[in-house]
Each structure stands twice: as C-alpha cells, then as structure tokens.
C-alpha cells in the first residue's frame, strides 16, 4: 500500500474516530412539539431572503425555513445523491421521453405565507426567471446559477398542479440541482426584489421579525402542508460577528446550534472539553482549497510550470498544518464518504502532487528546469488571495511549498470587494482560492469551474475535449458509466493542472444534545429547512 493510500486511510480513519468520539446519543425518541431553537449566524443575511441572487451560506442557511423546493435532499441522510431525494412541493415526479422531460405533480394543499394558493404558475415563474427565458416574467438583478438551467428549453404548466421541464437533451443531474438549498420556489405574485427585505414562502416557518445585523425570528407556519410539522414553535437566529463570542455563546447554552462550516477542529475539541455532552459531527464542508492559475498569461500558460506548482504542494502537509487534520485530499469532486463522485485512492495516487512529498518536489524541479526555471533563474510571481484569514493561512503554506522548488511567490491580499472581479477578469498570475460547492453534483461543479467560458472558471482553462466529456457525462443515463466519465474528467483536469485541488474541508457541526433531527449533511447548503427538527428541552 502506498504512502498516500496509508495516509488517506489514516485521515479517513481519524475523521471517523473523531466522529465516534464526538458523536452524541442516538436520536430515536418520539418527537415533541414546542420550543424555540437558538441558532448561530456569523453575519447578517447577506441579501435578505433572496437566495436566487446570492451564493453564500449566510443567505441560504437562515432563509431556508421560509421556503420549499420541488424536491429536497432527505434531511435524515447526510450523504446526498439522486437516491436520497424526497418530494417537497412535488408529491411525485417522472422522467419521460428518455429523460428529455421531467414532469412534477404538485401538492394541492399548499398556501403561501400570505394565504394565496401555491400552483404550477409559481414554479413556472421561478424557473423562467432563473433560466432567463425569452418570456421570463421577471428578472433577477444578479443570477449566479443561470447556467444550471442552460439545458432547459421550456417550463410548462399544463394545469395548476403539473409542471413539465422540457430539456434540450437528457440531464439526470437536473433533479439534484432542483433539490439544493439554492433552488427554492418563489411566489409569482411577489416581485423578486421583495425577497431582499422579507419572505413570502410556503415553508414550515414564517418570518416574524428581522432586526438588521442583530437577529432573525421565525414562527411556526400553522398552515404548513405537512401535518404535524414543524415541531418547533419558533426559530431565533442570532447574528454574532465575533468568532470568540460565538463559541462562548454556544458553550454557555445561549445558542443551541452552530453555523454550518463554522466550527474548526480546534474549536470542536475545546467545546467538547468544556461541555462533554455537546454533539459534534464531523461532516464535509463542501468547500475546497484550490490554486487558480491564469492559463492565459505567462508563466502559467505553460503546462509544465502549472504542473510544477501542483507537484510542489504537499496536500497532506497542508491538511495537517493549516487545518489541524480537518480535511481530506481529493480531486474536483468530494471523495467518499463525503460525496459519491470522488476519485478512489488508487486513482488519486496517479495525480500530480499526491505522492511522497520529496519525490513530488523533485518532479516539480525537473519540470521547472525543462521550462527554463532554475535556482539561478528562479521564477518570481505574485500570489493573490482574499484578505481573510482562512485564505491567507492556506496561501502562506503554498508560498512556502513553492519556494522549495524554486518559485518565489510574494503574497498580495485582495479585499473581498475586489476578489471575484479580479479573478473573473484574470488580473492575476496565481491565486490561493476557496470554492464552495452548492451540491455534490458533476454538472454543478464541472460546468461552473472547468468549462470553457464559465465566469467562475477563474483559471480560464479551456479544453474542448474536457468540455465534450462534461457534456457527455451530463447526459449519460447509466450511473456507472457516468461515474467513470466523471473520474476521467477529474483526472484530466488535474493532469492539466487546470485548478489544482488541495483538499476538501471538514466541518465539526455542533449542537446541544436536546436538539434532535438537525442532521448535518456533507454539504452545508442543503439541510437548513428545519422541518423535522425538534427540541427535547
């Protein structure tokens, strides 16, 4: 067994053991109704409840209880896939015409929070708006996930309780895209801009009060279409900007649940020591550390130089040094057990940068020498990163790794306000980046980050063959064949050093033991509905 395999096994074993160490009591009691859950927010709602105009967990997490999707990932199953989908506003659905039509049959007893009935018009309104079709009834001021619906030719509402998505070609992933926290249904009778300040949804909770920068209060929706749900009377989200205060509030019991993606391993260990009964669950944070390389400008238009960067970075060293072990190596898709599309260990071993660090660095030096970069003529570059601690820590580690192979990088911190604009315009040479993935799905990830012309393909990597493969996997109906294609794509983009993946982060999601059925998923965006959550206080 190679060193990587042993090492990765040890990491997975470590995370599993810590899961066992942190795990709380089994949740098999009979649910009780009533009570209020106090939940942490690390910042105010970024754009109110306008999930469709935002790409941050700071919007999705606190807004989700207000909404419903057509389908949703089963809140009881941490690993998400098309096999874990359940109906939400759709009672059932059916693929027709060899996966070219997706037909949803909607629930009939659903009301919006303002009392108006929910119908297929609302679904059509939402998706026509999202895909910006020619007859779109409204326009979002920012539409970050328009590309998710590029394959939707039309959305039809033949009757009030049936909706059909007509696709240009088969796309089995569409269901997963519809199931994320990023895909709630908006009301057709509410202007989309209104969601920036208030929320009219169909969800289990209705907004009671949003005190800007302070808290968000929900109350139970008495007309909720699932009888007996939700269990809780109210949700109280508290904005606490200071990390130390957030942790203290959780420890003191002023908060019942942490914010997803917020609890580091060190914080989890400190909390567990102080309050042993806390339930801490290590889960995939759906965030990757990666290196963006400007493939349109020298020196990183040269494959050898890009590969040298990838070979130079010791992934396992980074996980230990920067994340204290709270991460796992992997390529573009999250590895098992955090996802279902990741590369197996044996495949990872063949990729640049995943072998023994010394050997990998030798290869990096050799590649650099072939590109004319030697200790006498070192490569001097400017590494950009976002001026936030989690980015800077990772960038500092990478700079040190690059120095060991003869690349002298200086760090330039970019203000958050400038970061995406700079990356999109390609005004950089090399950058240390974090990428959040809304759903563990190849279509969402590969098109967004690696397809030619995507605005979030910051490396501007463009390989026609890879784009064809992405299209091919997207319409492949056989799951095994599709997985093989996805793995081949991941291998190819790592071999092209398109955007070298360094690790997938682990979150130590923390709740008090009286919080039941708040089961964190291996994706922070998709378990915030709170419909099944109850309090045993």
């Amino acid at each position: 067994m190679s060193r990587l395999r042993i090492s990765r096994s040890l990491i997975v074993l470590g995370v599993t053991l810590s899961a066992l160490a942190f795990a709380g009591p089994a949740q098999s009691q009979t649910p009780k109704s009533g009570g209020t859950l106090n939940i942490m927010l690390r910042e105010d709602l970024a754009q109110g409840f306008a999930i469709h105009e935002s790409s941050t967990i700071s919007t999705v997490f606190p807004s989700s209880p207000c909404f419903n999707n057509l389908v949703y990932f089963d809140p009881f199953k941490p690993v998400e896939s098309t096999d874990t989908l359940i109906g939400d506003l759709a009672e059932k659905w059916s693929w027709q015409d060899n996966y070219r039509n997706l037909v949803f049959f909607l629930r009939k007893n659903v009301k919006w929070h303002d009392g108006k009935p929910f119908t297929s018009k609302d679904v059509k309104f939402t998706f026509d708006m999202l895909r910006e079709g020619p007859d779109a009834p409204a326009k979002l001021r920012i539409n970050p996930r328009k590309d998710w619906y590029a394959n939707v030719e039309a959305v039809e509402a033949p009757d009030p309780y049936t909706v059909a998505f007509r696709l240009k070609r088969p796309q089995p992933s569409l269901l997963s895209l519809l199931a994320t926290g990023y895909t709630p249904i908006y009301a057709a009778h509410i202007p989309p801009a209104n969601y920036r300040t208030t929320c009219v949804g169909t969800g289990p909770y209705k907004v009671k009060e949003w005190r800007k920068g302070e808290y968000l209060d929900y109350v139970k929706n008495p007309d909720y279409f699932v009888k007996g749900r939700p269990y809780l009377d109210a949700l109280h989200y508290v904005v606490i900007v200071e990390r130390g205060t957030r942790t203290a509030a959780l420890q003191a019991g002023q908060l019942d649940a942490a914010f997803p993606g917020e609890t580091t391993k060190a914080a989890a260990e400190q909390l567990k020591k102080a309050v042993p009964q806390l339930v801490i669950t290590p889960v995939g944070a759906s965030v990757t550390d990666n290196i963006i390389l400007n493939t349109k400008k020298p020196p990183f238009d040269n494959l050898k130089v890009r590969l040298a960067v990838s070979y130079a970075i010791d992934r396992r060293g980074l996980i230990q040094a920067v994340h204290q072990g709270a991460g796992v190596p992997g390529a573009a898709m999250a590895p098992r057990p955090y996802g279902v599309w990741g590369m197996a260990e044996k495949d990872l071993l063949t990729l640049p940068g995943y072998g023994k660090p010394a050997e990998m660095k030798d290869k990096a030096r050799k590649l650099l020498a072939e590109a004319g970069i030697t200790p006498q003529h070192p490569l001097r570059v400017e590494m950009v990163t976002r001026a936030i601690a989690v980015y800077v820590d990772m960038a500092s580690f990478v700079i040190n790794e690059l120095k060991q192979v003869g690349i002298e990088a200086t760090l330039k911190q970019i203000e958050t306000a400038q970061w995406h604009a700079m990356a999109t315009r390609g005004e950089y040479q090399i950058g240390a980046n974090l990428t959040g993935l809304g759903v563990d799905d190849p279509d969402a990830n590969l098109y967004e980050n690696f397809a030619c012309g995507s605005p979030r393909n910051y490396s501007a990597y463009c390989d026609e063959h890879v784009t064809k493969l992405i299209d091919q996997q997207s319409q492949e109906l056989d799951p095994k064949k599709r997985l093989a294609l996805v793995i081949a794509i991941q291998k190819k983009i790592e071999e092209d050093a398109a955007r070298p993946l360094l690790d997938h982060r682990i979150d130590y999601f923390t709740v008090w033991p009286h919080v039941k059925n708040l089961i964190p998923h291996h994706n922070i965006f998709n378990f915030a509905r709170m419909q099944e959550v109850w309090s045993d206080k």
Partner: protein, 317 residues
C-alpha cells in the same frame, strides 16, 4: 454666552460640511463598492448586470451629483436608502443610536467614578504604597485594549460560570435587570481604560494645584483636609480633567466598535464596521456624520463647562 454658543454652532456647521466632504471622498477612495460586494456573494461578475445595479442605486451619476443629493437628504431629514438592506437608512440607524449613547455614557460614568477619586487619593497619598498601587492599576488600564479586556471577561464568565450576558438586545422596559447586566460589563471594560487616563490627569493636575500658594494658605488657616482638597484644590484641578473627559467621550463613541462586537451589542459602532465592509455608502456616511456631531457637541459642552468650573473664564462675543 449665547453669542458664543451661536458662534460655535455656526463653526460646527462649517466643520460638519468639511467632514461631509472628507467622508464622501474617503469612502469612494476605498477599493470596491456595494455592487462588487453583491457580486462577491454571488461568486462571479457580469459587467452588464453590474451596470444595471449601478443605475438602480444611482451610483452611475457623477460624484458631485451624488454628494449634493446626500447633502439635500440631510437637510430634508431623509437619509437615503441603505444599499444593502433596501430600506430607509434612518430606519436602520435609529435603533442603534440609543444603544451606543447608553454604552458610552455608562462607560464615562464608570470612568469618572473610578478615575477621579483614585486620582485624588493617589495625589494626596503621593509616593506611598497606595499611590504606587493605584498608578499600577491605572497603567494596566491604559495598557489593556478594551476589546481584549472584553474578550477576557466573556471567556472568564463562560469558563467559570458557563454563562455570558444576553447576546440580543434586552430593552429596559422588558427586563431592566437583564438590561443592566448586558450593559454594565462592556461599560466596565471600556470605562476602565478611560478611568486610567482620568486618574492620571487628576493626579498630576491636583499635585500641581496642591503646591499653589492659596492651598498652603488654606492649610495655614487650619482648614480640614477634606475642605482644602475637595473645595479648594480639586475644583481648580478639574479643568484639564474635564477636557480629557470630553475628549474621551468623543473618542469612545468612535472607539466602541470592538467592544460592541465582542459583547454583541447592536450599536452604531458595530454596525458601522459592517456597513463599511459592504460599502453601504448611505449608512456609513450618515453614521459617521452622527459620530462627528456627537464629537462636536461634546467639545462644545466641555468648553461651556469651563465657565462653570472657573469663573475667570469669560466667553467672547
């Protein structure tokens, strides 16, 4: 006196006008704007969508038009709309103001109640063990940043008592005891630093006055220590102390950022930082103007107090 106050207020208006220009220009010199931030939360940038939002928010207009528009809004009492929250800025700012004013006032009360008596004792007991102890106490206060002290207080409370003060604002109408607890600890953390400064100024000022001839005369006439110190010496030593209190109060308003953040108090200072990070110009501009007004008014109040404390001070017409 009336003429003096009117003159000062007129000067204050000019100062505020100058301030408004500085605030406006500095904000726009900072890299990025609200539209960049919005796209930052979306993870991409689209030039056409960006242009549309700039137009929607009125940010595509020339700077001088935006500036005059803001001045017009101030004069008419309409503070514009928050870019981030799409709501009138005043609606957002209004609940924050009393929190910050209360915290600053409480901190100042603590600072004065601790600083003046310890300064007097330290001066009267000059070069004794008590004096050294009080000077160490004050030096510690000056050396400890308020936010650090605040965090130590929070961490100590949670470690020792598994308890911390409430983290959402508790109205005194709802529960005055909890309200008091919520404000006392941060006020103490902030007030300690200011008390240290006040103590040192009180001590040095009092020591200087105590060497004056009229104090020696008072002692010679057989006055009691209490009368000599509190009636004759302290009153004359208070002028620099009052100046420091005025400066400190103004400084406090702007300096509460971290303390409000650590104790999660929904005040002006904490909100201001968030508004700056979001480049929410209408909110930032108006909050900074509010702080400027408080600073100017507190300085005016201090100047007027001089006359009360020292009858020799006369206000020019």
């Amino acid at each position: 006196m009336k003429t003096y106050v009117v003159q000062r207020l007129l000067i204050a208006l000019l100062t505020l006008l100058g301030m408004s220009m500085v605030i406006f220009v500095l904000l726009r010199l900072a890299p990025g704007d609200i539209v960049d931030i919005l796209f930052s939360t979306a993870g991409y940038v689209s030039p056409s969508e960006k242009q549309a939002i700039m137009k929607e928010l009125g940010m595509d207009r020339p700077y001088w038009v935006q500036y005059l528009d803001w001045l017009h809004q101030i004069v008419t009492g309409d503070l514009g709309k928050s870019y981030r929250y799409d709501q009138p800025a005043w609606q957002i700012i209004r609940p924050l103001v009393p929190v910050t004013l209360e915290l600053a006032a409480l901190s100042m009360i603590f600072a004065v109640l601790i600083g003046v008596p310890t300064g007097v004792v330290s001066a009267v007991r000059q070069d004794t063990t008590l004096d050294y102890a009080l000077r160490v106490f004050s030096l510690a206060g000056l050396s400890m940043p308020a936010f650090w002290l605040g965090m130590v207080i929070i961490l100590s409370l949670v470690s020792w008592f598994a308890w911390i003060p409430p983290l959402t604002y508790v109205s005194p109408m709802k529960d005055w005891k909890l309200h008091a607890i919520q404000f006392l600890l941060p006020a103490l953390a902030v007030g300690y630093r200011s008390s240290a400064l006040i103590m040192r100024i009180t001590r040095s000022s009092l020591l200087e006055v105590m060497r004056e001839d009229y104090i020696r005369t008072a002692w010679a006439k057989g006055q009691t220590g209490r009368i000599v110190i509190w009636r004759h010496a302290l009153k004359n030593a208070l002028l620099p102390v009052v100046t420091v209190i005025g400066i400190e109060f103004a400084f406090l308003i702007g300096g509460l950022v971290v303390t409000e953040t650590v104790f999660n108090l929904p005040g002006v200072a904490r909100f201001l930082v968030q508004a700056i990070l979001w480049r929410d110009y209408p909110v930032v501009q108006n909050l900074v103007m509010f702080i400027a007004i408080v600073v100017i008014l507190s300085n005016l109040l201090v100047d007027m107090l001089y006359g009360v404390l020292d009858p020799r001070v006369r206000y020019g017409g």
